[in-house]
């Protein structure tokens, strides 16, 4: 839009007292710096209501204003005509075919004279006269949702399963896996009865070697990960020198369910993002029966260009299903996800954009680090912070540097939206859909990178709540492990032996070690206190050395990595708490057993993590 036209619209809005002079000046200043249309800027900055702006615009250019009489226009809708294009085409280009009579095609648009819309229509209907009807973005989405609702739900739930059934966790075990586990159990029972000593010895060796492999792998990753500190991937200077006019539309999915306590804070946090507000496509994904959260969100008065998507009730009621639904409506070039309690660093989107520009097309996702703003709440939040710090600051950068599959974290993963759609989105049946997606992307030949930006979340400060959350993660890891081990040879062909090894050690091995760790601790304590000969009988020679290594080096490494990670983050108060790492490990074991039970009896159940338990909104040292 030319500048004088912008001014004209602005003057009309001024005349109607819809905006003030300073509002207009502010919008024009933003437009000069970041580009974009003046109307979209005014709306996204919350300076004018969308309905008022569009009304004024329709009056000015002499177009019908559809939002005034939506029900009337809905009656015109011709489903056969609408099927001429995919939903994504309508969403991205913000239009909808309404009716076609003879040579006249009536369409709804949110932006008049959009050349791209005209080009798309001309390609399909070579010889038509297009008549435009202006409508607000929100109303357009509402109409599209009412038309496509069933299809969107079906796609969100079954899309991945229909296209790639072998990658869906909707079946927990395949037939061949069931047969394998039955044969394995039978073989062990048989050998335990007839070769008891050898069987116990084998088990001890197997688990000790698994522990050892896991410890060594962690050690290597931590060394490599630590060395990454020397190179800052995206620098502050790069962010500052970015021309905001070149920034594309960025979609942000915000799945929220029963989060009335934190939704207001989340909206405030999202407003702090350093990204042109008119180029943000923010989609809140509400379950349609979650009226309390929806009402709280409305009370927070987000700008009119932020969208509320209401997910119809359907099974499974999981976050990935909601995200798949939201993905259908996202219109950005890039997309990220934030949870309800997230506080991303303001420049994160810009960093992600630069990261994509600097990477080759194979890199389809960047994972930001996650950490906690309420780490000082209690002992649990401190230990949780220790774990997250070494996971996101050492383990994941280590995997990244070694080009191994990276299991994504729950939020703040930034995608090229086109590739995300190509991958089939998230698996709605997997309760750690993020980890699964990271592995799946790698198996399809894509890469996941690590972004040097942090999102602060709320750490669980209640043990029960923590166990619920952790059991979901462990269950999801088991699902991911089972899904990608359905065709091991094919998986090895896709990701190589190193990638396969990562899956076994990092995903499956991690849960398995948590499951068996309490038994080894028990064995150790019984031997320590009673001097029982049973344990000593098996622990001789090589097995003794391996056990000693696991006990001493394994525990040391767990403690030390936590120490280093919080030291690096300058959380000096937390360093001493690293000594409690073995106790935290046992807590994870408890969650792992709960996860295993649920895998058999309630595999798709989403253990809801309650947020808003902390009294703190911001930690003392999170400053942005």
């Amino acid at each position: 839009m030319k500048e004088n036209e912008n001014s004209f619209i602005g003057e009309i809005l001024l005349e109607k007292n819809l905006i003030t002079k300073s509002d207009l000046n502010k919008a024009l200043k933003i437009q000069k710096e970041s580009g974009g249309l003046i109307g979209e800027i005014l709306i996204s900055e919350g300076l004018v209501r969308a309905i008022d702006f569009y009304q004024a615009l329709a009056d000015k250019i002499g177009l019908e204003f559809g939002s005034d009489n939506l029900e009337k226009y809905k009656e015109f809708i011709d489903l056969n005509l609408i099927n001429s294009f995919e939903l994504e085409t309508y969403i991205i280009n913000q239009f909808l075919l309404l009716k076609k009579e003879n040579n006249k095609l009536k369409i709804m648009v949110t932006r008049q004279n959009n050349k791209e819309v005209k080009r798309i229509i001309r390609r399909k209907f070579s010889d038509v006269e297009v008549e435009e009807l202006l409508i607000t973005n929100r109303d357009l989405r509402m109409i599209l949702e009412s038309i496509y609702k069933d299809e969107m739900v079906k796609e969100a739930v079954e899309g991945l399963f229909y296209r790639h059934p072998e990658e869906s966790a909707s079946r927990v075990f395949t037939k061949s896996q069931i047969i394998f586990f039955i044969l394995l159990t039978a073989a062990f029972v048989y050998s335990f009865i007839y070769y008891r000593s050898a069987s116990i010895n084998f088990l001890l060796y197997f688990f000790n070697l698994l522990f050892m492999g896991s410890i060594l792998f962690k050690f290597v990753l931590s060394i490599i990960g630590a060395l990454q500190e020397r190179e800052e991937f995206i620098t502050k200077e790069e962010v500052e020198s970015l021309d905001e006019k070149e920034l594309p539309i960025y979609s942000i999915l915000v799945p929220v369910y029963k989060e009335p306590k934190v939704i207001g804070t989340l909206i405030q946090n999202l407003k702090k993002l350093d990204y042109p507000s008119s180029k943000l496509d923010i989609l809140f994904l509400f379950e349609e029966d979650d009226l309390e959260t929806i009402n709280k969100a409305k009370e927070a008065h987000p700008p009119d260009n932020w969208n509320f998507i209401y997910i119809p009730e359907s099974h499974p009621q999981t976050k990935p299903k909601a995200c798949n639904y939201g993905l259908k409506e996202a219109r950005g070039e890039y997309l990220t996800i934030y949870d309800a309690e997230d506080m991303p660093e303001p420049d994160q989107l810009k960093k992600a954009y630069i990261a994509f520009q600097k990477s080759d097309d194979k890199v389809i996702c960047f994972q930001s680090a996650l950490n906690y703003f309420n780490r000082k709440d209690n002992l649990l939040t401190k230990l949780f912070t220790l774990e997250y710090s070494y996971w996101f600051d050492y383990m994941l950068p280590g995997l990244d540097a070694l080009k191994l599959p990276i299991p994504l974290g729950g939020t703040s993963n930034h995608f090229r939206i086109e590739k995300l759609r190509e991958l089939g989105g998230w698996d709605p049946f997997n309760v750690t859909e993020d980890a699964d997606l990271g592995i799946r992307a790698n198996a399809r030949g894509y890469k996941v990178g690590i972004l040097n930006s942090t999102t602060y979340e709320e750490a669980n400060n209640k043990v029960k709540n923590w166990i619920n959350q952790r059991s979901r993660w462990q269950k999801g890891y088991l699902q991911t492990f089972l899904v990608h081990n359905r065709q091991p040879l094919k998986f090895i062909q896709s990701v190589g032996l190193r990638g396969w090894f990562t899956l076994q050690i990092f995903i499956g091995g991690s849960v398995l070690t948590h499951l068996v760790a309490p038994f080894f601790w028990l064995l150790f304590l019984v031997w320590l206190l009673s001097g029982m000969a049973f344990a000593a009988e098996y622990h001789v020679g090589l097995l003794l050395y391996i056990s000693l290594w696991n006990l001493l080096f394994g525990n040391f490494l767990g403690i030390y990595l936590s120490t280093m990670a919080v030291f690096k983050r300058k959380y000096y108060d937390l360093v001493i708490y690293a000594l409690l790492n073995p106790i935290y490990y046992l807590l994870q074991s408890f969650a792992a057993w709960k996860a295993l039970k649920q895998l058999f009896f309630n595999p798709f159940y989403w253990e809801k993590t309650e947020h808003g338990l902390t009294e703190k909104e911001v930690s003392d040292d999170v400053d942005f």
Partner: protein, 274 residues
């Protein structure tokens, strides 16, 4: 040859630790602390110079970050303490009780545990023989301070650690590692040069190269000389000092090292099942 390898590891540890103080990157602290612990496992006598490191890691920081002091110290110390505990625990498992210091030999080799000898006379003799060389090596430091005229940063003292270690090592074993000790020392000097090269002026660089070469030559000459000439009165003086201090050392050996009062397995069992 094994000692050369161990001391090269030590040089690397000091290199990483000095880089940490200079670059403020925790990756160096991570690597340096782990390498130090590895060196402790290879040469447990290192524990003698550990207090020296403790002072550095406690004090080397900005005064404004007081909370950082214990955190930095703990982060550095933890691997070495874990290694100390591990060796002690292994000894305990084998029925030798908890001990603070373990001397070289295979960790799992029972016969190697607890071998300890003190020869104070020999120690002083060796020290006297080596002091000129050691001092010469520290001329690097002297000239750096002289020309830069900047206050001494505490981490600069890491440079002194090889001498302290040498003292400790000789203290316990009563022998002179000779050239296999000096080669890693020179290596360490090179590392040091590498770390601070961007802070040196051209004149300083020339001085460094000059003294480095001089050190090599002196080292060779010195080792040759001590094999031929050793003044008899020097030996007498050293023997006299040795006799004077020997009771203190024997006390240290008996009560602080060999009879470390760690908990024995039987004691714990008694506590639980009495």
């Amino acid at each position: 040859m094994m000692l050369i390898f161990k001391l090269i590891i030590f040089s690397f540890a000091n290199y990483f630790l000095t880089e940490y103080f200079k670059e403020k990157e925790t990756a160096y602290l991570f690597l340096g602390s782990l390498t130090t612990a590895l060196f402790y496992l290879l040469l447990p006598e290192f524990i003698i110079v550990l207090p020296f490191y403790i002072v550095i890691f406690f004090f080397a920081l900005d005064q404004k970050e007081k909370k950082k002091r214990p955190a930095q110290l703990m982060t550095f110390l933890m691997p070495t303490l874990a290694a100390t505990f591990s060796l002690s625990y292994i000894s305990w498992v084998y029925g030798y009780g908890m001990r603070l210091i373990y001397l070289s030999g295979s960790i799992f080799d029972l016969s190697a545990v607890g071998v300890f000898s003190l020869n104070f006379n020999s120690f002083l003799l060796n020290l006297a023989k080596n002091i000129p060389v050691v001092s010469l090596i520290y001329l690097f430091m002297f000239f750096w301070l002289l020309f830069k005229k900047t206050p001494i940063r505490v981490y600069v003292y890491l440079y002194l650690s090889p001498v302290l270690l040498y003292v400790g090592y000789s203290y316990i074993n009563g022998n002179n590692p000779g050239i296999i000790f000096y080669v890693p020392m020179l290596l360490f000097s090179l590392f040091y040069f590498l770390i601070f090269s961007d802070e040196f002026s051209l004149t300083m660089e020339r001085f460094f190269y000059f003294f480095l070469i001089l050190n090599f030559i002196t080292l060779l000459l010195y080792l040759l000389a001590v094999m031929i000439i050793l003044p008899a009165f020097e030996i007498g003086l050293i023997e006299y000092l040795g006799n004077l201090l020997n009771p203190v050392l024997v006390y240290f050996k008996e009560y602080a090292v060999e009879n470390w009062p760690g908990p024995g397995l039987e004691l714990i069992r008694y506590f639980y099942f009495r």
